[in-house]
Symmetry: C2
Subunit: 205 residues, 2 copies
């Protein structure tokens, strides 16, 4: 079995960098705005939250908010990127079975379950971001793709790994997850089971 415990370090794709250092006030301001936005989105859903709401909740002027994030869609994208980065940290460097230390198939199973939860909890943000004409960076998607590909390879999976990677990733797409939950009445848990069934089958166990 290939060593997948050092997989994170081997990624060639750029992960979103940590925030550049900001001067005290500006950094605090930024955090306060993002916290307010995240709280409002969690309470009311991304679609119902306005820039006025966020500025009021954070106690800053709306001008500050726009200067900082450019647009409502820009702000939503920053929120999404921060959570995406946290998720990446977890599956690349966090504790097993999601992170290094577990066998690749167990990591793959845990990864699918984690990303189905992510797709569901971030669906509104993902939708909002996808409506922005400045298309959301595909870097995050490439990291997911590379991760699945690396785990399939580490599990010594036979056959066309690119095709299997893309087929697996289809089950994690936000619109697909939301359709299966909203229209077909499945739960996040059931979708996780379906992912596990396919992952185990492809890896031949």
């Amino acid at each position: 079995m290939a060593d997948v415990n050092s997989v994170g370090a081997a990624y060639e794709l750029p992960l979103t960098d940590a925030m550049p250092t900001e001067r005290g006030d500006a950094a605090r301001n930024r955090l306060r705005l993002l916290d307010a936005a995240r709280r409002l989105v969690a309470e009311h859903g991304a679609d119902a939250v306005t820039m006025d709401d966020i500025a009021a909740a954070a106690g800053v002027g709306k001008g500050t908010l726009f200067r900082r994030f450019g647009s409502r869609a820009g702000l939503m994208m920053v929120l999404l990127d921060e959570d995406e980065r946290a998720s990446q940290q977890a599956f690349l460097f966090g504790p097993p079975p999601l992170g290094p230390g577990a066998p690749p198939l167990e990591r793959l199973v845990a990864f699918g379950r984690e990303r189905i939860r992510f797709a569901h909890s971030h669906h509104a943000l993902l939708s909002a971001a996808s409506r922005d004409p400045q298309v959301r960076s595909t870097a995050a998607v490439l990291v997911l793709r590379r991760h699945v590909r690396v785990l399939l390879e580490a599990a010594e999976t036979s056959g066309d790994l690119d095709a299997q990677t893309d087929a697996l990733l289809a089950l994690l797409a936000a619109d697909y997850v939301e359709h299966r939950i909203g229209t077909d009445g499945l739960t996040v848990e059931q979708l996780g089971d379906a992912w596990e069934s396919l992952a185990r089958k492809l890896c031949g166990r």
Copy 2:
């Protein structure tokens, strides 16, 4: 092995009906317009063809064209639906290995190769239709889904068949096919091989 030679007849989903009978002139007019549109789309791509072009090529007034099809997107959708219906006829009722008479796995392999060709040759039409606010009927997609599900079951495939169906179908999506061809430089043949690899793996051969 379940009998999949009568699979077509067992479909519960409505296939698009054959054209309602039209009176002579109207029917001929309609065919002439569709032929002209199809020829222009094949020559120049769906994006480059205007209603003026089609009307001129068919020798009718633009008003007739709009009365008949409602809009440019409506016309594109009719073109797409006609080809979609022909493709359905082929995989449901046509000669093997695509149609009944071959083992389910061989039908599944032939189906994927046929639909990858279809996605590639109809990409411009599929794009144009998807831009219409009146979203393209999902009936065609449901027929594809049901067909793959039935073949997996007939091949006595183990595991979660819904998940495997959706995972397989992702490899046939027009945008996916076009991305793999246009950006990754794969051929239709190579994508067909990738589909076959996954189909054989899922069906356990």
